[in-house]
């Protein structure tokens, strides 16, 4: 089943075309990677998908719901969660509180019952906290639950962002360079973690620079260059695509 369908999406800033006529689809349960040199428009694409930027043209369908005109919070509630390239945690909140905030949209009780501490409030808060701990355990973060998230190590912060994205309950998770700045050991761990998301029934859209990660876990790969899609296919197909080698791999010699 096609979970996300992007149809001839374009985004212009003034006269500059950041994305030009990009189309692709993501099957439910897949890991799809988006690669391309710096400035290819990958993060702009994420920003359009999550409502932080309004695309100039084109459409974005989540199953059959049009997203391109919706604000970010509506899209979040419809089931797309994301992480950010430069990590955006609620830094002065504890790790646990970060996860609690992520569950916001699912909470039913109102302010009045919170003030009166009704049973509805107590039951729901209790189950929220239990669920939050579960998410933390899933990523091996439970020991950090009471720590302010901003004071933690870089690798842990990246993981908390993923836990937070999961806690929203979204079916589609967008990860923006999850292994950036990690050592090889941490990168391997992150790879295993992302593969595990698929096991949990999540669909993953991944921006990644590390080719080992991309080739190792992707079901499909979309290659962008200067805002244009130049290739799409399975990892072996992409590896042997002459256009990709010329435009992307050929340029980055290292």
């Amino acid at each position: 089943m096609q979970l996300l369908t992007v149809k001839s999406l374009s985004k212009q800033f003034g006269g500059i075309r950041a994305i030009e006529d990009v189309s692709f689809g993501v099957k439910a349960g897949d890991i799809l990677s988006i690669i391309g040199p710096n400035g290819a428009g990958k993060t702009t694409l994420f920003n359009c998908l999550t409502g932080f930027m309004r695309p100039t043209r084109g459409s974005i369908l989540l199953t059959d719901r049009e997203l391109s005109a919706l604000p970010p919070d509506s899209i979040g509630r419809l089931g797309i969660a994301r992480t950010f390239q430069n990590i955006r945690l609620f830094r002065e909140m504890t790790v646990l509180e970060n996860i609690l905030v992520a569950q916001h949209a699912r909470i039913r009780y109102g302010v009045v019952s919170a003030v009166l501490r009704s049973t509805a409030y107590k039951d729901e808060e209790k189950s929220l906290r239990e669920k939050a701990v579960e998410y933390l355990e899933l990523l091996g973060l439970e020991a950090l639950a009471a720590k302010p998230s901003g004071s933690l190590a870089y690798g842990a912060q990246r993981k908390i962002e993923i836990a937070r994205a999961l806690a929203t309950g979204a079916g589609l998770i967008l990860l923006d360079e999850p292994t950036a700045g990690m050592n090889p050991l941490e990168t391997d761990e992150m790879m295993a973690l992302i593969s595990n998301l698929r096991v949990m029934g999540k669909t993953v859209l991944l921006i990644e620079h590390d080719m080992k990660v991309v080739m190792g876990i992707s079901d499909r790969i979309v290659v962008l260059d200067h805002g244009v899609k130049i290739a799409e296919g399975s990892p072996p197909e992409i590896r042997s695509d002459p256009l990709v080698i010329e435009a992307y791999l050929g340029r980055e010699t290292h």
């Binding site: 800033f13 993060t43 920003n47 932080f52 930027m53 950010f84």
Partner: protein
């Protein structure tokens, strides 16, 4: 009547524009609303009075009025620039990387401090400017323009042009524009950012000092509280013209001065001070980039 109001408005506008430049330059570079900038203007007005009174007592004014005024202006600019320089060093520099609202709150602190500093040292009552200038003037289309009004309008115009040339043509000016656009890039190409920021404060404060002296001469009296409302009005002028833009500050100042002077005579003078706030709110809500400014996109 209308022409008279236009001239009054233009005079006022010139003063607002001079103060607005300080806001616009600092905001362009630091993205900080320098709340204390209005107080620098107030300091300028006080220092003008103090220095001119001193020179008069020393007998220089009787000897040569223009020389006396010139020295007053130079010394006031010197002092105010020093104040601006010092304030930036003490109250803003340590907060360069703090959350966005911290320097703004610090600036409010500086503003309160300076107001009370002047009130305690100079008294809470109005201070009267030694009347050294006659009320001489000339007729212009059967409207009376005092020499002072003409001087204020001319001086603010000339200063504006000079500043524009400075920013566009000189090496320091180019460095300022560079820092305003991208601090990281600027430091990579070897621009000393701290120095550029200091220069910005020195120039901005100097311009506010000129405005202060001229207003003190124009109205003949000052009070420690004049900085607050003049500051807000000048900030409004800066936002109106498009914050970060030097011609914008000029345009905004003139528009605001005219609006205030025409509004006071044709709508209601009781709400004279409210016009600036109303304009500020409307412009921020409808067109926050101002008349001549550019829209900035926030990075995600």
């Amino acid at each position: 009547m209308l022409l008279q109001q236009l001239i009054n408005g233009l005079t006022l506008g010139g003063v607002y524009a001079l103060i607005a430049l300080g806001y616009t330059m600092v905001y362009g570079i630091l993205e900080l609303i320098n709340f204390a900038h209005g107080e620098i203007y107030m300091l300028g007005a006080y220092l003008g009075i103090i220095i001119l009174a001193f020179l008069t007592a020393a007998g220089l004014t009787a000897y040569s009025l223009p020389l006396s005024l010139f020295i007053t202006l130079v010394l006031t600019v010197l002092f105010c620039s020093s104040y601006g320089f010092t304030i930036e060093k003490i109250a803003y520099r340590p907060l360069r990387n703090a959350p966005r609202l911290s320097p703004l709150i610090s600036a409010i602190g500086v503003s309160i401090f300076l107001q009370n500093y002047v009130m305690l040292t100079q008294g809470a009552t109005d201070k009267v400017f030694p009347s050294v200038l006659g009320s001489g003037g000339f007729e212009f289309f059967s409207t009376r323009v005092t020499y002072l009004q003409a001087a204020i309008i001319a001086a603010s115009g000339i200063i504006m042009v000079l500043l524009h040339l400075f920013v566009m043509k000189t090496k320091t000016g180019k460095a300022m524009r560079c820092v305003a656009q991208d601090k990281v890039m600027a430091s990579l190409v070897g621009i000393d950012i701290d120095r550029v920021i200091s220069i910005t404060f020195i120039i901005g404060s100097g311009l506010a000092a000129v405005a202060g002296v001229m207003v003190a001469l124009y109205y003949g009296l000052v009070n420690y509280s004049i900085g607050y409302s003049a500051g807000i009005k000048a900030f409004t002028a800066a936002v109106l013209g498009g914050i970060g833009s030097i011609p914008g500050a000029m345009l905004g100042g003139v528009v605001l001065g005219l609006a205030e002077s025409l509004g006071a005579s044709y709508i209601s003078s009781e709400y004279k001070d409210a016009y600036a706030f109303v304009i500020l709110i409307i412009i921020l809500l409808l067109k926050p980039e101002g008349l001549l400014g550019k829209r900035r996109e926030e990075k995600i």
